[in-house]
């Protein structure tokens, strides 16, 4: 099976010789993203354990999220007339954050989300910005719910941070894959080698055309 996950594999092609997209190895991507986000089994279990307390409040998080996004002019243009359609998808994902499991299927779903964002030309910073906004709201909720047990609240916030980091990592991976795929297609169409492309690129980086 073709694997396209680790940093040492970045230079591998994202498409085959016929121009078809090569899917990543989601099991390997799950491992890789978990290592970077420190999403441990303990943290996963902790998130699952608070599902009943936090789930009733998630729709409020989604509403607030889109309200804040609407206040950002750059984001508002992308959301115009689409918010009501986007909300259920967002809520499903929020639900998944507290039901797990954080396995290959979850990774594949997040990769797909990133891929969809690429296809609608969503700026890459919207994802990291969006994750930050959601994290802020979830932390606030957690510290309200567990105001009597701040040690637990901190542990949950830490677990949320890892889960959100994991999700962002995977989504961004699909962004990078999309850029690599575009380059691979260009190379396939023009017949240029990667070495020639890099030579061209460096030649025109050094001075103005």
């Amino acid at each position: 099976m073709t694997t396209l996950v680790g940093a040492d594999r970045e230079k591998d092609n994202m498409i085959d010789k016929d121009g078809n997209t090569i899917k990543p190895d989601f099991a390997d991507l799950t491992r890789y993203a978990k290592q970077f986000s420190d999403l441990t089994t303990e943290k996963e279990n902790l998130l699952l354990s608070i599902k009943s307390e936090i789930e009733p409040l998630l729709s409020e998080v989604t509403d607030n999220f889109y309200q804040i996004m609407h206040g950002i002019p750059e984001a508002a243009t992308f959301l115009e007339g689409r918010v009501e359609k986007l909300k259920p998808t967002h809520q499903n994902w929020m639900h998944g954050l507290f039901t797990g499991p954080y396995d290959e299927k979850y990774t594949e779903a997040m990769y797909h989300v990133g891929d969809v964002h690429v296809r609608v030309n969503l700026p890459v910073e919207f994802m990291s910005g969006g994750i930050t906004l959601i994290c802020n709201q979830l932390y606030k909720l957690v510290f309200e719910i567990y105001s009597e047990d701040l040690v637990k609240a901190h542990k949950i916030a830490d677990a949320i941070n890892s889960a959100m980091g994991f999700s962002l990592f995977v989504m961004q991976k699909s962004y990078h894959a999309s850029v690599d795929e575009t380059l691979d297609k260009f190379l396939l169409i023009t017949g240029m080698s990667k070495a020639l492309f890099e030579k061209l690129s460096s030649t025109f980086n050094s001075t103005q055309p």
Binding site: A195, L196, K199, L200, T203
Partner: protein, 120 residues
């Protein structure tokens, strides 16, 4: 030794016609192997652009069912750029004047390309 031989082939080519202003041998990855170019010309750009043009020409010839690529010719207001393979791994690029007699240049470049391929 090979470098000198390549330089000699290019000098001979440039001397074969007053219409030839410059020439270079480039790897298919765009790296300059040998050249006889005017001083104000950026060797890296000549290398990269020539290899890219030939690569695209190769693909275009295939896609449009024109068979194996023989050469790529670019005509500008102030002259020609002629590119052709010199073996499988190199490209010869020639810059010629706008009123150059192309028939003679094609022959000279073809001969030079064969000699370069033998050296490489």
């Amino acid at each position: 030794m090979r470098q000198e031989m390549l330089g000699s082939i290019l000098s001979e080519l440039n001397g074969s016609s007053a219409d030839i202003e410059a020439s270079a041998v480039i790897s298919t990855d765009g790296l300059l192997i040998s050249s006889v170019l005017p001083q104000d010309m950026d060797e890296d750009r000549v290398g990269a652009m020539s290899a890219a043009m030939l690569s695209l020409g190769d693909r275009t010839a295939q896609e449009l069912s024109r068979g194996e690529l023989e050469q790529v010719l670019v005509k500008g207001r102030t002259g020609y750029i002629l590119m052709t393979y010199a073996g499988d791994d190199a490209v010869i690029t020639v810059l010629a004047k706008p009123k150059a007699k192309l028939g003679l240049i094609f022959l000279d470049v073809k001969r030079a390309a064969e000699n370069i391929a033998k050296v490489l």
